[in-house]
């Protein structure tokens, strides 16, 4: 994983689970190749990232598609709903297109109920049909970061 605020709770849960290993990546495409190696060795995993990291993965996704490797990417979106930071918007706007262009099947979750259904469906589909999939979890679910509050020292 490369952390995102939207994944913070999930990352903590994974770290607390002794049956899982959490690998701290320095760039998102490392997760694509890491999980390719894990699958060659008989292990499964999930790749967590923010939407801005999807762009870093483009060429590495060739590995998943050309080798027909199972892969599930959970992408928490920045820049798709009530965003404050202009730099988040271009990649957010391109996230789904870019993934689809590389042969990744994309699902969206814009309510908490969608998250459970889409993630469990994508997980079984990725591993049962041996292909890369991504679930985009929208900012309507994770909430937009309030930079004005942060600038006033309000971190809650």
């Amino acid at each position: 994983m490369v952390p995102d605020a939207g994944h913070a709770q999930l990352i903590s849960l994974c770290e607390a689970d002794k049956t899982m290993s959490v690998v701290r990546l320095t760039s998102e495409e490392q997760g694509v190749s890491l999980l390719a190696g894990a699958w060659l060795g008989g292990e499964k995993g999930i790749l967590l990232m923010q939407s801005s990291g999807v762009g870093n993965c483009i060429n590495m996704l060739s590995l998943s598609t050309s080798c027909q490797l199972p892969l599930l990417i959970l992408v928490t979106m920045r820049g798709d709903h009530a965003e404050f930071n202009p730099s988040q918007v271009p990649m957010a706007n391109a996230t789904e297109t870019v993934l689809a262009a590389m042969g990744v099947i994309v699902r969206r979750a814009d309510t908490p109920e969608d998250v459970v259904a889409e993630v469990s469906g994508a997980l079984s589909m990725a591993y049962n049909t041996s292909r890369p999939m991504a679930v985009l979890i929208g900012q309507k679910v994770t909430g937009a970061k309030d930079f004005r509050k942060l600038s006033q020292g309000d971190f809650e």
């Binding site: 690998v23 701290r24 997760g31 190696g37 060659l40 060429n59 050309s66 080798c67």
Partner: protein
Amino acid sequence: MKKALHRREVVSHLLDDRGDLLVVAGLGAPAWDITAAGDHPLSFPLWGAMGGAGMIGLGLAMAQPQRNVLVITGDGEMLMGLGSLAVIAAHKPPNLFIVVLDNEHYGETGMQKTVTALGVDLAGIAKSAGFMQSLLVKNKAEVGSLKDEIHKKGRARTGPLFAQVKVDSEKLPVVLPPREGAYLKNRFRIALLGHAVALA
């Protein structure tokens, strides 16, 4: 480059009598080199994924902690994935061995210089990242010691190990591995995990 090491000799020595070693090769010349040494179901030669060979090695090493994993790649491929050295060093897999055949050039695209030709110290970067061992290999005796390290078993293993092997920038005949990705994946998983698990 007087008495420079030859990449095919280095690779065939490292892979001779390879035992149960799992091998990943970076795209281009390292993939041709491991194939010249003898194609093997437990070899995974890359045709792309530049910068990803080390991370594939880490995933494999974490999934198969009892087996030794050897990544053989080039300086250009390694330079594209320098961040992976930090990730590997931080996670410290004792069974992962990364060998960079450093000819200081991009061999597949017209022999343009890489930045190792301009003094970038790959072994130094790996050492600073925190690899348990980081070696600069320049002669046959050092290749022999490297092979001994790669074949150590159990608690005697001292990975993650990084080795920058300085090799001649010779152009060699291409020796092609199979290129269909799903075939390479399936033959590797069947050889490692057995049919029942690999194709479940």
